[in-house]
C-alpha cells in the first residue's frame, strides 16, 4: 500500500543512483508541461524558480500580497550545512546522523541522508544569489552552533536568516516571472485539488480580492504550503498560516503522515493576556550565549538580578551536563514546563523561565574584546559594555524585538521565555520522490512529513525547504512528467473541474448562510485551548479521548452558529479565516487520534504513560517504529497504514544528552 520508492543499494549512494537513473524530460517537452506550485515560502519559491529555469511552465500561488511575505521569512537563527568549514569534525554523515537521532528515530533514513548531502549545495547556491550570510574578517563564511549537535554548522545572517534566504529564492522566482516562465498569482488561496483518473490535474483557487473561484490546470501540483501549528491558535506561525491546502488534498485521498508530531519551541516570549494573537520566537541561537535558569526557591518573587548566583538553578546544565543549554528543543521545552509546573516559574504568570545573557556578555564576549583591545584588568562595567557590542551584532534585532514586545531591556534584565508551538513535523505522506500517494501531487517543505521524524533540530527547516525546492523536485518531477509528455492540457471545462468547483462553491455558500452568533476567532481560540491542554507538550490517553469528544462537539457548534459578515464576492478576510478554521477543527481530531494511537513517547510527542524513571521520553521501537499514514474515510473516520522504518545505518538507541 505504501511504496516509499527508496532506491536500492547502500544509503550513501541512493541519491546518486537515483539521479543517474531517473527519467528525463527534454527541453522542448518541458515547455509543454504545466506545473502548479502552491505556496511561495522557501520550498515553493525555490521550486518555482528552479522549475521555471528548467523550462517548465509554472503557475505559483500565494495568499499573501507578495510571494516574499511567506512565513519562511520569519525564521531567525540559521540554516545547517555539512560544509565543515570550521574543521570541527562535521561531515555529511554527522549531519545525517544528528538529524535522525534528533528526530528520535522516526524519520526515513534515505530522505535524511539526501538532505544532508544536498545541504552543501544550498549554501553555495544562496551565496551565488547574493544572500548576505555572516562573514569573518577574512571574508569567509561564519558559523554558529545550534541545539542537538556538537559542531558549528549553522550558517546565518544575524537573526534574519529566513528573510535573506527567502528573498534569495523570491528574487530567483521573480526573474523567472520576468522571463515568462513563472506566472504568479498573489492573494489567491487554493481551495481544492482537481483529480482526473487518479492523477492531480489542477486546483480550484479563490481570488481573495474579488472572491471569484478560478480553475487552473497543471500536469502536476506541488503543495508547498507550510505547517499547521495554528491549529493551537497561539503559535509562532504567521496569522495566515493554515492547513487548508494539504487538508483538502487529504480529503481527496492523500495520506496524512504523523499528524501529531508537533514541535514546541522552548524559547518564546510568554503569553501576556487573553488578547494575545500570536507568540514570538526568540531564536534557538540565543541558547548558545544565554543560560537558562529558575530560582532554587519556590515562588521566589525577587527581581532576577537580585537573586544571587548560588540561589539560581541552571536546570538544563544540571540535568544534561553534556549538552547543557543546547539540548534539542523537545527536551528543553519539557524541562521548562516541569520547573514551571513544580512552582519555580517566574514572571507574573509563573509560566516562564529566565534566559540570561549576562554571564557570556562578560566572560565570553567581554573578555575576548578586552583582550583584543589590550585592556588590562577590565572592571565588570567595561566587560558588559564591550560584550554588548558583540551581542548586538549577533542578535541585535531579536533583542530589539523582545524589548518592543515586553518593554524590558534584555541586555540588562534576563529574558522571560516559555515554550510555544512552532513547527509541525507531520504533514502529507510522501515517498522518496516527494510525491503523495496521489499521482502527480507532491508535498514539499514543512507541508510533508518526511525528514524530521518526531522532532526537528534547529536550523533544519530552512535546509529542508530549500533542499526540496532547489535540488530534489527538479529531478524527481521529471521522473513522473517524462510519462506525461503526450498528455495535452485538460481544458478547465472538464467535468472534474466543474464538479470540484461546485463543491468548493457549495461549501462557501453553506458557511455564509449559517449567519450564527459566534465569531470565527472565538471558535479558533476554543479549538486552540483544547489542543494545547490535551494534545500539547504532554499527552495522555484520557485527555486525548476527551479532546476528540470536545472537538466533535465544537465542529457541530461551528457549523451551526458561526457568524461571517460581508459577502462572498468581495475582499472578505473573515470568510477566508472561517474556511481555514473549519479545516483546523477537522485536523485537530486527527491529531488527537494519531497521538492516542501512538502509545509511546518520541521526540515532541510525549505520552505520560511512556516515560523513564527520570521523566525522559521512552520510545517503544518494538511496536511503533513506523510512520503513521492516515487515509480519510469519511467524516470522523480514518484508516491507518504503517510505513515500517528500517534503520540500517543509524541504529536506534535511547536518545541521551546527559
Amino acid at each position: 500500500m505504501l511504496e516509499s520508492k527508496i532506491p536500492s543499494g547502500p544509503l550513501e549512494q541512493n541519491w546518486t543512483y537515483y539521479k543517474g537513473h531517473c527519467k528525463l524530460v527534454n527541453p522542448a517537452n518541458k515547455r509543454k508541461l504545466d506545473v502548479i506550485v502552491v505556496g511561495t515560502g522557501l520550498a515553493g519559491a525555490s521550486a518555482a524558480a528552479s522549475l521555471g529555469e528548467l523550462g517548465y511552465k509554472v503557475k505559483a500561488f500565494c495568499f499573501q500580497d507578495s510571494p516574499r511575505r511567506a512565513h519562511s521569512i520569519a525564521a531567525q537563527g540559521g540554516i545547517n550545512a555539512a560544509k565543515n568549514y570550521q574543521n570541527d569534525g562535521d561531515s555529511v554523515f554527522r549531519l545525517f546522523y544528528d538529524t535522525v537521532k534528533g528526530g528520535d528515530y522516526r524519520a526515513r533514513e534515505a530522505n535524511v541522508h539526501r538532505l544532508a548531502e544536498v545541504s552543501v549545495n544550498i549554501i553555495d547556491q544562496c551565496v551565488a544569489q547574493g544572500v548576505p550570510f555572516a562573514r569573518e574578517y577574512g571574508g569567509l563564511l561564519n558559523n554558529r552552533s545550534f541545539g542537538g549537535t556538537q559542531v558549528k554548522r549553522t550558517f546565518y545572517a544575524a537573526g534574519q536568516t529566513g528573510q535573506q534566504l527567502l528573498i534569495g529564492a523570491y528574487q530567483a522566482m521573480e526573474r523567472q516571472v520576468a522571463l515568462g516562465n513563472v506566472q504568479q498569482f498573489t492573494r489567491h488561496e487554493m481551495l481544492d485539488v482537481v483529480i482526473i483518473d487518479g492523477k492531480a490535474r489542477g486546483i480550484i483557487a479563490r481570488n481573495l480580492i474579488t472572491g471569484k473561484l478560478e480553475r487552473h490546470f497543471g500536469h502536476a501540483v506541488l503543495l508547498c504550503t507550510g505547517g499547521y501549528g495554528n491549529v493551537f491558535y497561539l503559535s509562532t506561525n504567521a496569522m495566515g498560516s493554515n492547513v487548508t491546502a494539504i487538508w483538502k488534498a487529504h480529503k481527496q485521498g492523500a495520506y496524512f503522515g504523523n499528524p501529531c508530531f508537533t514541535q514546541i519551541h522552548p524559547t518564546c516570549i510568554p503569553v501576556s493576556g487573553d488578547h494575545q494573537s500570536k507568540l514570538t520566537l526568540m531564536s534557538e541561537s540565543l541558547r548558545n550565549d544565554g543560560r537558562i535558569w529558575v530560582p532554587k526557591k519556590k515562588d521566589d518573587n525577587r527581581k532576577p538580578n537580585d537573586i544571587p548566583e548560588e540561589e539560581r538553578d541552571y536546570y538544563l546544565e544540571r540535568r544534561y551536563p553534556a549538552f547543557g543549554n543546547l539540548v534539542p528543543r523537545d527536551v528543553a521545552s519539557r524541562a521548562a514546563k516541569e520547573r514551571s509546573d513544580a512552582g519555580y516559574g517566574v514572571g507574573t504568570t509563573k509560566q516562564a523561565v529566565y534566559l540570561d545573557f549576562k554571564y557570556n556578555l562578560i566572560n565570553k564576549y567581554g573578555r575576548a574584546e578586552a583582550t583584543k583591545r589590550g585592556i588590562q584588568n577590565p572592571d565588570e562595567a567595561t566587560l558588559v559594555s564591550l560584550g554588548k557590542e558583540v551581542v548586538k551584532e549577533e542578535y541585535g534585532n531579536l533583542f530589539d524585538m523582545y524589548e518592543k514586545i515586553t518593554g524590558e531591556n534584555p541586555y540588562e534584565v534576563p529574558m522571560r521565555i516559555y515554550p510555544a508551538v512552532h513547527y509541525t513535523m507531520g504533514g502529507l505522506w510522501v515517498d522518496y520522490e516527494l510525491m503523495t500517494n496521489i499521482k502527480g501531487l507532491y508535498a514539499l517543505g514543512e507541508a510533508n512529513f518526511s525528514d524530521h521524524g518526531a522532532n526537528r533540530l534547529g536550523a533544519s527547516a530552512l535546509m529542508q525547504g530549500l533542499a526540496d525546492g532547489y535540488f530534489v523536485i527538479p529531478y524527481t518531477i521529471g521522473n513522473y512528467l517524462a510519462d506525461e509528455i503526450a498528455t495535452k492540457p485538460v481544458p478547465t471545462t472538464h467535468e472534474a473541474f466543474e464538479k470540484t468547483e461546485k463543491e468548493v462553491a457549495d461549501r462557501i455558500n453553506t458557511l455564509m448562510n449559517i449567519r450564527g452568533k459566534q465569531t470565527v476567532e472565538s471558535f479558533h481560540k476554543r479549538l486552540g485551548k483544547i489542543m494545547w491542554e490535551k494534545c500539547g507538550m504532554t499527552r495522555n490517553a484520557l485527555g486525548l479521548q476527551e479532546a476528540i469528544t470536545e472537538i466533535r462537539a465544537l465542529k457541530k457548534e461551528f457549523w451551526r452558529d458561526v457568524c461571517i459578515p460581508g459577502a462572498i464576492h468581495e475582499m472578505n478576510p473573515e470568510l477566508d479565516k472561517a474556511g481555514r478554521v473549519a479545516d483546523f477543527i477537522e485536523l485537530g481530531e486527527l491529531m488527537c487520534k494519531d497521538a492516542l494511537d501512538r502509545n509511546e513517547s518520541c521526540g515532541g510527542h510525549f505520552r505520560e504513560e511512556s516515560q523513564t524513571e527520570e521523566g525522559e521520553a521512552k520510545r517503544d521501537d518494538a511496536n511503533y517504529s513506523y510512520v503513521a499514514a492516515w487515509e480519510y474515510a469519511g467524516e470522523g473516520h480514518w484508516n491507518l497504514y504503517k510505513e515500517v522504518l528500517n534503520f540500517e545505518v543509524a541504529k536506534p538507541t535511547q536518545r541521551s544528552y546527559k
Binding site: R69, D124, Q125, A128, F133, L140, T280
Partner: protein, 254 residues
C-alpha cells in the same frame, strides 16, 4: 513594566473597494491593555464590529513579528506609528494613554491603489524586482560558497541594505510617493557583493525605468523615507543608487 488600560477614539479610513470614494469612521474602543499590540487592539475592535453585525476593518498583516512587511497603517500622519525603526505589528499600546484619539489611514500613493479599507495593492514592488532585482544564476551553477571571499564591511553593508522588508512605508512617507529607498536598498545589496557585479550596469537603469512606469514620484532628498523605515535603511543607499545609475547610463562599452 506598569500595566494600565485605556479608552481611545479611533478614526479609521473605510473604503469598500478600489472604486469607492471612502471616508473616515469614528470608533470608540474601551479597556485596551497597554500590553496589547496595535493590531491586537484592531482585533478587539473587529470582533466587536462582527458581533454588532457590521463589516470589520480590512487590514494587511501576517507574521506579526515585524519581518514579513505585510502590515501597513498610516497612524497619526506617520507610517507604522510613532516608534522608531518599527512596524505596526510591533507597536504596542503602551505608546498611548487614556483618552487619545488615533487616526488610521492606508498607505497613500498612486502606485498603491486601495483594495479595501487599510489594504493597498503593492504589486508594483514585485514588478520592480522583476525588472532587475536579482542575480542571474540558475540553480546548480554555484561555486563553492567560500570560493570568493567578501570583505566583512562590504558583506555587513550589503546585509544592512538587504534588511528591507518591502513594506512601502518609504513611499507612504514621501511627499512625492517615491520608491527610491526601496529600490536603492535592493540595488545596494546586490552592488556591494562581488556576485552582483556582472549585472551592475543594467540593474539600476532597468529598475528605475520600471519604478517610473509604475507611477512613483521622483526623489527630492527630504529624508522622510529614512526616518520611518522600520529596518533603518539609510538614504546613503540612494546616493549609491545614483552612482550605479550613472555607471550604467554614462559609460559605454568599448
Amino acid at each position: 513594566m506598569e500595566h494600565y488600560t485605556m479608552n481611545l477614539t479611533l478614526k479609521v479610513w473605510r473604503q469598500k473597494n478600489t472604486d469607492d470614494r471612502g471616508g473616515f469612521e469614528t470608533y470608540p474602543v474601551k479597556n485596551i491593555s497597554s500590553e496589547m499590540s496595535f493590531l491586537e487592539m484592531f482585533d478587539v475592535l473587529n470582533e466587536e464590529l462582527i458581533r454588532e453585525g457590521k463589516d470589520p476593518i480590512a487590514f494587511d498583516h501576517d507574521c506579526r513579528e515585524g519581518i514579513c512587511g505585510m502590515c501597513s497603517m498610516y497612524i497619526n500622519g506617520r507610517p507604522h506609528g510613532p516608534w522608531k525603526a518599527n512596524t505596526v505589528c510591533q507597536l504596542h499600546m503602551r505608546a498611548y494613554k487614556d483618552g487619545d484619539t488615533i487616526v488610521v489611514e492606508p498607505w497613500r500613493a498612486n502606485a498603491f491603489p486601495v483594495i479595501k479599507d487599510l489594504m493597498v495593492d503593492r504589486t508594483a514592488f514585485d514588478r520592480i524586482i522583476q525588472a532587475g532585482g536579482f542575480i542571474s544564476v540558475n540553480t546548480g551553477n554555484a561555486l563553492d560558497a567560500n570560493a570568493i571571499p567578501v570583505r566583512k564591511d562590504k558583506a555587513d553593508a550589503a546585509f544592512a541594505a538587504a534588511a528591507c522588508i518591502g513594506c512601502g512605508a518609504c513611499v507612504a512617507a514621501c511627499k512625492n510617493s517615491s520608491a527610491m529607498l526601496f529600490l536603492s536598498a535592493k540595488v545596494s545589496h546586490l552592488a556591494l557583493l562581488p556576485q552582483g557585479a556582472p549585472e551592475r550596469k543594467t540593474r539600476a537603469m532597468n529598475m528605475v525605468a520600471q519604478m517610473d512606469k509604475e507611477g512613483f514620484g521622483a526623489c527630492t532628498n527630504t529624508g522622510a523615507c529614512e526616518a520611518v523605515c522600520p529596518k533603518e535603511i539609510s538614504i546613503d543607499t540612494i546616493a549609491r543608487l545614483n552612482r550605479e545609475y550613472m555607471l550604467g547610463a554614462a559609460t559605454v562599452e568599448s
